[in-house]
């Protein structure tokens, strides 16, 4: 149980895919102009990484080593297509807001990286837990960035007015340059978190 918790918690701070490993950045910066988008993208990505890791882990002994990359891509592309079609059907507004970034989940390096480094060697249960940890780690950063950008850039949170009427929204934060700036500050914050809570970092390192 403790082992599974360690696998799960690793993705949240110490090996956070976005802030520490700096992979899968494109979608994280592009869609985070509002909290709904952040949650939607996080959920879509978690779905794909979870099923991709579990399925590949189940078949890990059958996949020939020389053909593994194309096989991984096909599995990931299949689940991405499912998410794309489901979102187009049930949440058309969200799907439109995120545009090309839903199909681009297929080339998200986080998924490919975890499948290659973890799921292709470990048992399905571990792989699923690892995927959930990475998914949660990805989602919290997305929601954090989008909350910050939406609050300052639009005065709202998830579409609800938070700032007083006198507040003039700083448009900068919803535009592309604001995305880069806020993300830089989040990386800085994560370095600081790691320094303040070294115990958690050590525990996770042992698990790895």
């Amino acid at each position: 149980m403790k082992r599974l918790w360690n696998i799960f918690s690793r993705g949240i701070v110490v090996e956070n895919p976005l802030l520490m490993l700096m992979i899968g950045l494109c979608s994280a910066l592009a869609v985070t102009t509002s909290v709904q988008n952040g949650i939607g993208m996080g959920a879509a990505m978690t779905f794909v990484i979870f099923f991709a890791e579990v399925v590949i882990s189940l078949f890990r002994k059958l996949i020939p080593n020389s053909a593994r990359i194309p096989i991984f891509i096909i599995v990931i592309a299949a689940f991405t297509t499912m998410v794309d079609l489901v979102m187009k059907a049930y949440t058309p507004d969200l799907s439109k807001a995120m545009g090309v970034f839903i199909p681009l989940i297929v080339v998200n390096c986080i998924i490919m990286g975890r499948v290659e480094a973890f799921a292709s060697k470990e048992k399905p249960l571990d792989a699923g837990v690892d995927a959930l940890g990475m998914g949660v780690g990805y989602t919290w950063v997305l929601v954090g960035i989008s909350a910050f950008r939406e609050l300052l850039g639009n005065g709202t949170l998830a579409g609800i007015q938070i700032m007083p009427d006198a507040y003039v929204p700083i448009l900068f934060f919803t535009l592309p340059p604001g995305g880069f700036l806020v993300f830089g500050l989040f990386i800085s914050l994560n370095f600081w978190l790691k320094k303040v809570f070294p115990a958690a970092a050590d525990a996770a390192k042992e698990a790895a």
Partner: protein
């Protein structure tokens, strides 16, 4: 006239990296050296244009008539992966000097999301084949341009005295943010 407009739109106004957040992994990973970034830009341009030239007919003459549009993601990523492999084999055999120069960047290009995004854009924006090719050239020129710009800035930052909390990777994003502010100035260029 229309083609020039598409080119400028893709290269500057809707710059793939600074305005659309595409291909950031390559952007951060490959911009630590100016000559490396030019090599990466060349390789990406090559594959993007080739991929557009292949995926556009594939979608309009095969997938669309057969009502298989939902296979777009799967087919396009496989086409790009196969193209990268082909280009690698071809260069290795026929132009070994160019292969040696581009070698390390080539395999990385498969997961470069700018290429996949450009091939999707060609379809959703309803371009014809010529417009698609021009759009893909423009997008990759824009990619190369911002890569080279950041590589130049990173060279300067090595000797600059930065505040401690921003040292290292955060500084890259702050610099990119300022670069993006500059590019926002082009937004009125094309009506």
């Amino acid at each position: 006239m229309n083609l020039i407009k598409i080119f400028l739109q893709a290269a500057i106004v809707d710059n793939a990296i600074l305005m659309r957040f595409l291909a950031l992994c390559a952007f951060i990973g490959m911009s630590n050296d100016v000559s490396k970034s030019i090599g990466m830009g060349g390789a990406v341009t090559f594959v993007t244009v080739l991929a557009s030239a292949v995926t556009w007919p594939l979608f309009h003459f095969v997938l669309a008539p057969l009502n298989l549009g939902f296979l777009q993601i799967l087919v396009f990523i496989l086409v790009i992966a196969a193209l990268v492999q082909l280009v690698e084999f071809f260069l290795k055999k026929n132009v070994p000097s160019l292969y040696a120069a581009m070698g390390i960047y080539l395999p990385l290009i498969t997961t470069n999301c700018a290429i996949l995004a450009v091939t999707f854009d060609n379809i959703t924006k309803g371009y014809d084949l010529a417009e698609s090719i021009v759009y893909s050239v423009g997008a990759s020129v824009g990619f190369t341009l911002s890569l080279v710009l950041l590589a130049g800035i990173r060279d300067r930052m090595k000797t600059a005295n930065l505040p401690a909390f921003i040292k290292g990777t955060p500084s890259l994003f702050v610099a990119t943010s300022l670069l993006a502010v500059a590019f926002m100035g082009f937004s009125g260029l094309i009506k």
